[in-house]
Subunit: 337 residues, 2 copies
């Protein structure tokens, strides 16, 4: 393991031998539907409450990732996970179900790549042979917790985003076939003073730009090193702002290969409810573990940088007049030994 | 780095070169007062809201730990932290203040040792030269979030615990003088069906017993290897249950050297409000980073196992009829190279 600036270079390049994505009905109507392992046809996810539904998504995803990795539950040594729920209950209850040593993490929607970076660190350092990273979000649990009771059906501004209902998990180890985790860039908390909790894309854009810039500087790479650089959930408002912020730093991103999971998961012309695009830690998780890794395994993509973004506010922090601190964690994935 | 079962053995035995503890007025009336770096004389911590007060405790503790470690803020590479607030806002806002790459973690009151275990892993694996671990809790922020509005002044049962107002941080690196982090045992989620959110000690006891038992098994040690084995916040109800559970497994704990941070921080005869004893992630943090490390540095203790316990419930999980999943993470500290 080496560190340069805020970027870790994994010595043994841990490999993702299995990953899973389980989603709700709305994600199943989107353009990536074919890439998901299972699509629930109801937002309750066959449970009595949305919170239990979110947990079920995560438990399903964990089981599926183990199955696709071809290992038994007993072989898994550590589970690294978190989610958006207060006290990350979805992850902790899923960890209870799994019965495996558990490290809870929290980076809001950046949890997907924070957990993958830490799970890969465990494997790379010899602290684990098999480690799992995972996260989940549910549209209704998040809306009721962060904004208004879902039953209000309150109208949202057009720049608001739509929380993805979905869970994704990955199994990381030192040997095998699959995309390799080569670097992780751990983000700093950025806060440019945005206070509107509906305007997450604008709030998170500086964190994404800062982490991408740091990653390129620390690794000596230029954007064209990657076939794809994909942000987590900046959506239609935040993603162009990140592009503009990077340009101001002299970093010109490609017009076609700089994308955003929040813009990829829904067809915003048909799925009007998605507004500016997807969000939630399930967003970057299911797009990465469902769509992107499949593209890598089939040879369509060789080198990808996933930059998961997170808004670290709580309802209490914004009720007390605080602006929204944000963070982004990036993980570099490459095919080949 | 080696792993055996659920226990990491740190190859380079990272050293804690500086640690801090900042507390509120009630902890300042307790028997460990002399060991704390600073005692606020008001529960507001000189701020307008309790939440801002909790954050201030953590920011103070971070600054003090850097000062005592003798390093500059720019030298610090990563901050690993978490707290009990929804979306761990105290840690995220403190990380914004510090401007350092940040890994948010959550293990409820076990966060103190989860963050130390992960920070030590960063240092041991070469992912960081200097890493900080930290956590905080505040009596009033926690009571209002998990139980009733603080202003109600509602009566609590005598087996309830009293959340510590305090923050603790430590700076870990590979060279220098101080207690060394030799092992960490990462806990599994244990849940024996306790549903009473006032009865945390009973809920957490099985997790503490399970982690202690796993630690001894994984390291081949017996309890008398340690001068002190200290649990996080089991208090007067949970601590004897853990002792009994261990005895049932054939592990007899010493009568004097098996203690609990929640029982050490208050004088329960004089400080009646403490009820069964202290709790909160600040409890094990300030007792460890204030009291225990001072005892180690002064030669009174050589080998200590800190077993921080956490209850992973949220108000929503228990309102939906769930029992309380718990976890304990243990870190072994030793003086000498």
């Amino acid at each position: 393991m080496k560190v340069n600036g805020q970027t870790w270079e994994y010595e043994h390049r841990p490999v993702i031998i299995g990953s899973s994505s389980i989603v709700g009905p709305e994600e199943g109507e989107g353009p990536l539907a074919e890439d998901f392992d299972f699509i629930y046809d109801n937002l309750e996810i066959n449970e009595k409450t949305w919170e239990k539904g979110e947990r079920r998504l995560l438990e399903d995803a964990a089981r599926k990732a183990l199955e696709l990795a071809g290992i038994q539950e007993e072989q898994l040594q550590f589970y690294v996970g978190g989610d958006l729920m207060n006290q990350i209950i979805s992850s902790s209850f899923a960890a209870r179900q799994m019965g495996v040593p558990y490290l809870g993490v929290f980076g809001a929607c950046s949890t997907s790549m924070e957990s993958l970076a830490v799970a890969s660190l465990l494997v790379d350092s010899g602290a684990a042979r098999y480690a799992m990273a995972g996260t989940a979000s549910h549209n209704c649990t998040v809306e009721k917790q962060f904004r208004y009771p879902t039953e209000y059906g309150s109208q949202k501004p057009p720049y608001a985003q739509y929380t993805v209902t979905g869970a994704g998990c990955s199994v990381v180890t030192n040997q095998g076939k699959g995309p390799r985790v080569t670097h992780a860039t751990i983000g700093k908390v950025m806060d440019l003073g945005v206070k509107d909790p509906f305007n997450m894309g604008t709030a998170m854009a500086p964190a994404a730009a800062d982490t991408i810039s740091a990653h390129l500087k620390d690794t000596g790479r230029t954007p064209d090193y990657y076939d794809l650089i994909v942000t987590g959930d900046l959506a239609s408002v935040g993603h162009p702002i990140t592009r503009e912020l990077l340009l101001q730093e002299g970093i010109a991103m490609d017009q076609t290969n700089f994308m955003d999971c929040g813009l990829m998961i829904y067809d915003r012309d048909k799925q009007k409810y998605a507004l500016a695009g997807g969000s939630g830690c399930g967003c970057s998780a299911v797009v990465t573990y469902g769509h992107i890794l499949k593209q890598m395994n089939s040879g369509k993509l060789q080198k990808v940088l996933v930059v998961a973004t997170g808004a670290l506010l709580s309802p209490i922090s914004y009720q007390q007049g605080e602006s929204i601190p944000c963070i982004a964690h990036a993980v570099s994935l490459e095919m080949g030994g």
